[in-house]
């Protein structure tokens, strides 16, 4: 009896929905419909089945020991709880997801650091009208004219003019 009511953790579906990225929205909707169906089914079933009226049967059934025997066996009967095979799988899945999530967050953080560095560089740049061509080449290396590859003016293929 103790394992029966494994506490159902309240899931805040609204907050959950907010965090779903748009490309996984259909999966989320499927999950939600499934969950709703399951909880509806659960709600429709009563917690305890209606008790059998033993006294009535004792008076009605002629055979002497039958009702008593049934009653004894019935109260002694223990319905086995269904075995939980999935929770451990889910736990492993969760562990894996946590791992991949941490690695993703690490990568994301490095990307953020990179972006912030570039942003800082752009912010601290001197304004263009105080720059010389060399300053421009330092700030934006792609503007540097390759004088070895194209020794003659305009130092870049004509098509790129």
């Amino acid at each position: 009896m103790a394992g029966r009511r494994a506490a159902l953790k309240a899931v805040d579906w609204v907050a959950f929905a907010e965090r779903v990225p748009p490309n996984q929205r259909s999966m989320f909707n499927n999950l939600k419909t499934r969950t709703d169906a399951i909880s509806a089914k659960l709600a429709s079933l009563p917690e305890k089945p209606p008790a059998i009226d033993w006294n009535h049967y004792k008076t009605v059934v002629a055979k002497a020991g039958m009702v008593d025997e049934f009653e004894k066996k019935f109260s002694a009967l223990k319905v086995p709880e269904p075995v939980d095979t999935q929770t451990s799988l889910i736990d492993t899945q969760e562990a894996e997801a946590n791992k991949s999530a941490t690695s993703y967050i690490e990568e994301s953080k490095t990307r953020v650091a990179q972006y912030e560095k570039e942003l800082e560089k752009l912010k601290n740049m001197i304004p263009f009208d105080q720059m010389t061509i060399e300053d421009l080449n330092d700030a934006f290396p792609e503007t540097k004219l390759d004088k070895e590859k194209h020794p003659y003016w305009p130092h870049k293929p004509i098509a790129e003019l």
């Binding site: 907050a15 059998i52 019935f74 990307r111 010389t132 421009l136």
Partner: protein, 252 residues
């Protein structure tokens, strides 16, 4: 002073900004040779002030304390007269050529100088604006990218909810299954008991019917013909008596 010579030839034209070649190279070479890494101070927008297009203002300022406002003019006139009178400068046909060309040049510069300068400035402005645009776009993209990354990180934090929901589902399914099992057991037992009860009832019913049929049959068969005649005669007699009494009652 080196820079000033460059501007002597560019009389009347506004400076085309620090991206003009000559000035830049001069100041740059100074800095690179002395190996100072201090940022270069911003270059001046306009060249040094000149009077009459050629003579630097510093000369006038230099001579002002001693000779006042007219000093440099007197110097100039004196120099000119000296050169001419001593024939240090000889007037020949080339003088007139120079005068004519000079006049045309000065006229041209004075007339078209500002527009050409504006055109050159516009070209420069466009370059700068383009670069600025590129920079701005880059900055907005970067900020946007940082936002997106932060949002994705926040999203990832919600992954626990998915697994909670899954576990809930599993628990609910188990609970449903258990309840169904209980229900099934109860129903089965009830069915068996009900069957017994129904069976008993059926038995009793059949016995009752059979008994009734049997009694009826035996009664009917036990009526002998003589008894039948007697009973019919008695019935007729009773009926006559009844009729008489009713007739008597009616008459009264």
């Amino acid at each position: 002073m080196l820079s000033r010579l460059v501007f002597v030839t560019a009389s009347g034209l506004k400076s085309s900004g620090p991206l003009g070649a000559g000035l830049v190279h001069a100041s740059r070479s100074l800095h690179t040779s002395s190996q100072s890494l201090a940022p270069v101070p911003p270059l001046p927008e306009k060249g040094g002030k000149v009077r009459h297009g050629i003579f630097p203002e510093e000369l006038f300022q230099l001579l002002y304390p001693k000779t006042g406002v007219t000093g440099p003019y007197m110097l100039g006139t004196g120099l000119l007269v000296y050169l001419l009178s001593k024939e240090i400068y000889v007037i020949n046909h080339e003088t007139f050529t120079a005068a004519a060309i000079g006049a045309v040049l000065i006229y041209g510069v004075k007339k078209f100088g500002p527009s050409v300068a504006a055109f050159a400035d516009k070209l420069n402005e466009e370059k700068v604006a383009k670069a600025q645009e590129v920079k701005d776009v880059a900055m907005t993209n970067l900020t946007q990218a940082i936002e997106n990354e932060k949002k994705e990180q926040w999203r990832v934090e919600g992954r626990g909810m998915l697994f909670d929901a899954k576990r809930n589902n599993v628990a609910m399914l188990l609970e449903t299954n258990y309840r169904e099992r209980l229900q099934m057991v109860t129903n089965e037992v009830k069915k068996r008991l009900d069957y017994q009860v129904a069976l008993q009832n059926l038995h009793r019913q059949m016995e009752k019917e059979h008994m009734v049929n049997w009694v009826e049959k035996s009664v009917v068969s036990s009526i002998t013909p003589q008894q039948e005649k007697e009973s019919i005669a008695k019935c007729i007699a009773d009926l006559k008596a009844l009729a008489k009494t009713t007739q008597a009652k009616a008459a009264v």
